[in-house]
Symmetry: D3
Subunit: 305 residues, 6 copies
Amino acid sequence: MGLKFEDVLIESLPYIRDFSESVMVIKIGGNAMMGPEAAANLMDEIVQDIVLLHFVGIKTIVVHGGGPEINEKMEKMGKTPKFIGGLRVTDDDTLEIATMVLVGNINTKMVSLINKYGGKGVGLNGVDANLIQAKKKKSQKVVVDGNEEDVDIGWVGETEIINPKILRMMIENGYIPVISPVAAEKKGHMLNINADTVAGDVAAALGAKKLIMMTDISGVLRDVKDKNSRISKIEVSEIDKMIEDEIITGGMIPKIRGAEVAVRSGVEGVHIINGSTPHSLLLELFTDIGVGTMIYKKEDEKEEE
Amino acid sequence: MGLKFEDVLIESLPYIRDFSESVMVIKIGGNAMMGPEAAANLMDEIVQDIVLLHFVGIKTIVVHGGGPEINEKMEKMGKTPKFIGGLRVTDDDTLEIATMVLVGNINTKMVSLINKYGGKGVGLNGVDANLIQAKKKKSQKVVVDGNEEDVDIGWVGETEIINPKILRMMIENGYIPVISPVAAEKKGHMLNINADTVAGDVAAALGAKKLIMMTDISGVLRDVKDKNSRISKIEVSEIDKMIEDEIITGGMIPKIRGAEVAVRSGVEGVHIINGSTPHSLLLELFTDIGVGTMIYKKEDEKEEE
Amino acid sequence: MGLKFEDVLIESLPYIRDFSESVMVIKIGGNAMMGPEAAANLMDEIVQDIVLLHFVGIKTIVVHGGGPEINEKMEKMGKTPKFIGGLRVTDDDTLEIATMVLVGNINTKMVSLINKYGGKGVGLNGVDANLIQAKKKKSQKVVVDGNEEDVDIGWVGETEIINPKILRMMIENGYIPVISPVAAEKKGHMLNINADTVAGDVAAALGAKKLIMMTDISGVLRDVKDKNSRISKIEVSEIDKMIEDEIITGGMIPKIRGAEVAVRSGVEGVHIINGSTPHSLLLELFTDIGVGTMIYKKEDEKEEE
Amino acid sequence: MGLKFEDVLIESLPYIRDFSESVMVIKIGGNAMMGPEAAANLMDEIVQDIVLLHFVGIKTIVVHGGGPEINEKMEKMGKTPKFIGGLRVTDDDTLEIATMVLVGNINTKMVSLINKYGGKGVGLNGVDANLIQAKKKKSQKVVVDGNEEDVDIGWVGETEIINPKILRMMIENGYIPVISPVAAEKKGHMLNINADTVAGDVAAALGAKKLIMMTDISGVLRDVKDKNSRISKIEVSEIDKMIEDEIITGGMIPKIRGAEVAVRSGVEGVHIINGSTPHSLLLELFTDIGVGTMIYKKEDEKEEE
Amino acid sequence: MGLKFEDVLIESLPYIRDFSESVMVIKIGGNAMMGPEAAANLMDEIVQDIVLLHFVGIKTIVVHGGGPEINEKMEKMGKTPKFIGGLRVTDDDTLEIATMVLVGNINTKMVSLINKYGGKGVGLNGVDANLIQAKKKKSQKVVVDGNEEDVDIGWVGETEIINPKILRMMIENGYIPVISPVAAEKKGHMLNINADTVAGDVAAALGAKKLIMMTDISGVLRDVKDKNSRISKIEVSEIDKMIEDEIITGGMIPKIRGAEVAVRSGVEGVHIINGSTPHSLLLELFTDIGVGTMIYKKEDEKEEE
Amino acid sequence: MGLKFEDVLIESLPYIRDFSESVMVIKIGGNAMMGPEAAANLMDEIVQDIVLLHFVGIKTIVVHGGGPEINEKMEKMGKTPKFIGGLRVTDDDTLEIATMVLVGNINTKMVSLINKYGGKGVGLNGVDANLIQAKKKKSQKVVVDGNEEDVDIGWVGETEIINPKILRMMIENGYIPVISPVAAEKKGHMLNINADTVAGDVAAALGAKKLIMMTDISGVLRDVKDKNSRISKIEVSEIDKMIEDEIITGGMIPKIRGAEVAVRSGVEGVHIINGSTPHSLLLELFTDIGVGTMIYKKEDEKEEE
C-alpha cells in the first residue's frame, strides 16, 4: 500500500490548496446517520472526516438536525410526534423535549466526539450570543376533510437575522462550532427551526465557500431507479426545468430550493451527499468524480447581477 | 425619590471603580431559585443584576446547578432520584436526563434571559473546547445495615483539568459565559459534576476577584436561630475552629471548605449569599454592610507563602 | 434605604447599557460652578459624577471654561476685564493671564480632582498635538456714541481645524481628557477661544453621542418666570420659531445655536443642564424625566439628508 | 558648501544609527536659556534641534524648569522670591504662581514651538495620569543667627512614584511629551518639584539611553579659569574623588550627584552641556568631540552588579 | 567645521520631516556605478547614503541593474553580448548567466554592503513570493539589410502584475528590500526584465513618494554641451514639446517616458541623477538646488483627473 | 481506488494533527537529487510534497545544497573542483561561482517551483537580514607526502550566529523560505558554508519540531549489504557505541553527529531519508513504518538536563 499512500495525498493537494482557509458549513441529519438504524460507527467516521477538514486548513462549522432522536424520546415519554406539511407540530412539551434532545444530548455528544478526534468543538444554538433571531412561522394551510384550513403548528420558527460574529471569533481561533437548530424570537420564547434552513442561512451569512448537506440519499438521480444516473452538477438556472421535468421531485425539492437560495447568496457550491456512504465527505470534496450532486452558479451570471 | 437616585449611584462608585475589569464567577442554584417553589420573577431579577454587573465593567461568568429541575423531570419519567452522601447516584438514564435538563433546558433559558436584558450570553458546558476534563469519582463509603460498604455512584465526576482559554476569549470579547456542570472524562464518556465545585475551579483557574455562591441561605449565622447573627467576614484560618465550635455545620461545611480552596488558590473573596433575597447580588457587592458571608485571606498571610 | 439601593441601580440599567462605550463631551463653566460664590463642594461632586460615567463605560471628555477665575486674577493684578458683544477683549497681558489661569490653574486642579476620585485625567489644550488649530476672529461691530465701529477684540480665536487623534488615543486607553479653551493660530500665536464652541467642535469631530453643557440655568423655560415650565426636548427644526416667539432669548440664543450646529454635525443629543443642581449630570442622563433641555434631531430627517 | 553638506550627514550616520528608536530625556532650564537675558532666538534653535532628534528616530521627552520666569512674575505681583538651601520657599501664593507660570505659560509656549517646527508636542505635568506622585519635603536645616533651625519650605515636593505608562503611549505614537515639574501628593495637594530631579527620575523610569541636562555651564572644567580644560567623560566611580579634590564644586555637585543616580539606575549616559552654545545638543550627540561632560558607568562594573 | 555641522543638519530638517515614513524606490545601474571603470568606493558611498535615508525614517527599496557585469561575465565564458533595440538578446545560456550575475552576485553583494553600514537588507527578485509576474516580450521589428524583420529576442519579459505585499511586510518591519530584475512567466520560465521598468512598476504599485533613477548622466541639459544648463524640474505636460524640440533625445527619451508613467500612476516625483557624483542622492533630496532633473505633475492637473 | 483514497487521508490524520503549526526544516541536496544523473521529475515531486506539508499546516523551511551543480559549472569554466577533508577548497573564483550557482540559479529555480505548485516561496541566503553570521574556518590538517600540513581551504565558513527573526516573520505570514548556504563574516566577506550544518543550526535556532535530511541514502543500515536492515530510530545516547561498532561509518558519521547536535539543542527528531525514493518525505512523516532513520532523545533524559 506504500506507494498508493503518497499518491492519494498528492492527488488531493490541489483541493487542499484551493480550500485552505475557506469556510465550509456541514449539515448532518436524517435517519441514515442519526436514526436508530444508523450504522454503528458512522457518526465516529463522519466526525473524523470533519476533524481532518479542520486540520488541512478548512474552517468548519457543523449544523445538526435530530428528528429521529426527538421522535424516539417523545415516544418514550408517551407523546406521539405529529407533522403538517413536513413541519413538526410543536406544542410546549414538544418544544421542551426537542430543545433538550438537540442542545443537551446530540450537540454535546457531537462536541465530545470532535474533541475525541483532536478537534476543539464548541456547542452553540441560536440563542447563544443571539446567533439566530427567529420569528414564529405563520399558520400552515392544510386540507382537512376536503377543506383548506389554517393550522397553527406551534413553536416552529424561521430565521430573521443571523449574527455571525461569534462564529467568526470561533473559527478564527481554531474552534469547530456545532450548531443546534433552536433559536429565540424577539421576546425570548424558544422556537424549533429547520436544520437545513439554519445551515443555509449560516453559510450565506458567512459567505462560506461550500455548504455540504449530508442526507440519506446520494444526490439527484436522472432516473430514480438507476443508482448510476447521478447528476454531479446542477447550475441554478436549470433547477426550474428539472422540477418541471420531474427529475427533481418530492422531498428533494425543498433541499434543492434551499441550495439555490444559498448559492444565490454567494455560497460557491452546495453539495448534497449521502452521509451513510463511508467517507462521502472526503470523496466529494477531494476527488474529481465526487459522490453527490453539487448546485452552483455560473461565473458570468454572477457578474451580471 | 429623585434625590436618592444619584446618591445611590455615587455611593456605589468606589465599588464600581474597584471591580472594573475584574473577573467574577457567580454560582446560581438551589431550591429557592430553581425549585418549583421559587418566586415567580426571581430568576429574571437575578439575571438583570448579572447584566448590570457586566455593564459596569465586571467580567461575569455564570455557573448554574439544577438539582430540583432534574428531580422534577426524572419523576415525570417515572424514575426516583437517589442520593448517597449528598451525591446523585447517576446511572445511564439519569445521566442522560441530567445532561438534557442542565445543558438543553436550564442553560438555554438562562442565556435567553441574559440576552433579553441586553447582555450577550453564551452557553457552555465542560465538553466545549475541553473546558473541564473530569474523572469518574471513586466509590463512596456508605453504611448499609450497619456495615460500611463501597457503593459506585455511577457517572459522577470531579474536575481534573480546567482549560480556561475559551472563557478568556469570551469575556475579553464582551460575552457572558453560562456554564453547565457536565464534563467528559478522557475517553469521552459524559459525567455529571457538582456545580459548586465547578464554580470554585473556574474561579481559581481564572484568578477571579470574586466567587459568589447564590444559595438558599443567608451566609453563616453565629446563632442559627437568630437571623441577625450573620457573620459578614470569615478569615480562612478561622474556619477549622468554627467547625469545631459547631458554628459552621451540616451542608454549610462543604460550601465553606470549597470557598477555602478557592481563596487559597488566589480568589480574593468568596461570598455566600441568599439568592432568594431580592437583589442580594448588588447589595453584597455594592454596599459596605452586605447581606451574606465573605470568606477571605489576610494579605500578610498571602505574602508569606 | 437598603431596598431602594438596588432599585436605583436596576432602573439605570437600560441607560447604562445604551451609553456603554459611547463618547460624551461635558462642558463645565459659568459663575455657578466656578465663580467665587459657587457652592463649596460643587466641583468635587461634578467630578465624582464624571468619574462615575467613566466607570460605567462612557468615554468621557471634559471641556472647561474659566471666565470668573480669569476676571478675579486680572483684578488682583490691577487689570479691568473688558467685554464686547460677550467676547473678552484680549490684549497681550490678558491673553497671558487667561492662558495661565485656564491651563496652569483650573485644568490642573480638575485633573487632580479626577485622579482623586479614581479616574485617570490628562490635561490638554488646543496646542497639544495641534488638537485645535484656530484663527484670529475678525473685528466686531460695536455701536460707540451711536456710530457702528469696527473694534479689534485682540487675541480671540475661532476653531479652524480639530485633530481628534490624540483624544481618540486617550479615551481608547482609559484616560479622561480635560481640555482648556486656548489654541494657537498657524504661525503659533496663542488665542483665547470660547469654551462652548470648543465643546461643540470636539463633540462633532468625534461623532460624540452626547454633548452636555453644564451652565447656570436649568435649560429652556417656556415661561421664564415659571421654573416648572422647562421644555425637556427641542427638535432642531423648532428652534427658529422658538426664537421668533421669544421663548429662547438673550444669552440662551448662542447656546442653542451651538447645540443646533453640533446636532446637525451628528451629535445625537445636546443637553443644557444646571450645573449647580446637585448631580444634575446623572439625573439628566439616567432618568426618564431629566432636569434640563435636550436638543436633538428627528431620525427620519437625518436620513433624508 | 555643497560638498560639505553630505559629509556632515554621512559623519553623523553612525550616531543616528546607534540612537535610532532610543529614548532620550532633555532637561531645559536656567537663566541662560529662559532668563530675561537669554539670546533672542535661542529657544527656537533648541526646539529645532529637539525636533530634528525626533525625525532621526529618537524618542524625545522634554522636561523644563522655569525659575527665572517664576521670579519675574512674582516680582510683578509684588512678591519677593525666597530660597533656602537652593530650594524655593513655596507658600500658597507662590505655589499658585509657579504652577501657572510652568504649566500655563512656559509649557504651552514650548509645545507651540515644537509644533511650529513640525513635531507633535503634548504638554504634561506630574498630575496628568498620575505621572508623578510626590510627597512634601521635610523641613530643611538652616543656620539662623548661628543656630541651626528646622524651617518648613512649604509646598516643595520630591518624587515618590513615576507612572511612565502615558509617556510610553505618547512616544510610541510619535508625540514629544513636554513635562512641567509640578505634581500632587497623595491627598491631591499640588507640589513644586525640582526639574533636574524630575528629568533624572523620568529617565530612570523609562530606562532612557541618555539624559541631557542643558544648563548655563559647559560641563565640568578641570580648571575653572580655563575654558579649554573641560573634562569630556567622567566614570561614576571617579566622582567622589573629584569632589574631594574640589574639581567638582558648588552648584555642580547636586547636578553630578543627580547624574550619578540616573546612571546607576540604568541610563547609559548623562550629558551636562551649555544650552546657550548654539546647537550644543547636536554637537554633543552627533560628534566625537562633544561640547560638554558625560557621566557614564563602565560596562564591566555594570555586569558585576 | 563645528559651526557648519549643525547648520547642515538643521537645513535638512524640513526635508527629513517631509520625507518621514514615506516610501522611496532607488534604481541603481549603469556603467558609471557598476562598470569596470566605476570609481573604487562609489558603491560603498551610495549604499551609505541609502542607509542614511533609512535611518532618517524613509522606507527605502532598491532596484539594481547589472548590464556591465553581465557583459563582463559572458565574455569570460566566451559569449558575445548582443542587443536589439537596446534590449539584450537572451538565449538560454545568456538567461542563466544573467540570472546568476544579478541574483547571485550583484544582489548579494549589495545586501552585504547594506548590512555593513547598519541597515538590514534582504535580497529579492521577481520570483520571490510572486513579486513580479511577467510575460515574454513580443518579437522586435528590426531593419536587416534594408528590410524590417521580426526578431525574437528570447527570454526578455515585461511586467504583468506586481504583488507588493512582501515589500510592504518588509519595509514595515524595518528591512531594506533589494530587487533583481528577473521574474517568471505564468508557467514558471525565468525572464530577464528591464531594471528601469521594474523600478517604475514597483514605485507605482506601492504609491511611492519618490522614484530616484541613479544613472550615468546629470539629468536633462537644455544644451547638451553646457553642463550648467541642467533643467531641475519638468512638468509631465512639457515632455512632448521637449522631445519635439530635441531637448530630450536619444537614450534619455525612454527614461523620461518611464518617469512620466510613474508620475501619472501617482508617484510624487521621479528624479534622474548622476550616480557617479558623490552623494548625489543626498544632495538631490536634501537641498533646494538639487543635482538632477525631477519629473512631476502639477497638483491641479492631478485633481482634474 | 475509491475506498482506499479516504483511508489514506484518515490514516494520516493523527500525524497531520500532531504536526499542525509546527516548524520543520528540510535539507535537500546531494547527487541523487541535484546531480546530472538525478531522475527527471524528482525535484518537481519533492517540491510538491513540501507544498503539501505547507497546506496541512506545517511551517516549512527549505535549505538546499548544490555541490554537483557547482562542480558542473566550474568545469564548464575550466576550473577543477578540489576538496580537502570533504570541504571544498574555495579560492576567490570558486567562491564567486558557488555563490552565483547557489543563490542565483538553484535557489531561484526552487522558489519558482514552489510557486508553480501553489506555495509562496521566498529565496534567502545567510546575508539577508544577517540571517547567518559566519566566520572563516581555520586551516585543515592534511597529510601531504606523509607529513601533516596546515592547509588554508579558503573562503569556507562556519556559523557563528543565527538571527531567525526574518524566518519567523516569513513563516508566520505564510511564506516558505528557501535558504542558500552562503553567509558573510563580520567585515562583509562572503563565505561558503556546509548546507547540512546550516539546516541543523536553523532548526536549532527556531526550536523546530523536525529536521529532515534528504540525502542519497536510506538512513542507517545495520548491515550495509542488506537494504532491509534499516534502523528506524536511534536514541542519541546510542550513537557513540554504534560508531565504535562500525554500524555508523564513513560519510554517515558527520551527518549523524550533526543530527545529534540538533536533537540536543531541542529539535524533536532528525530524519535521514533517501530523497530519490519517490515521496519519501510523506512516507517518513505520515506513516508509522517510515522509510529512513530518525535520531531522537528520550523524554526523561531531556528533563534531567
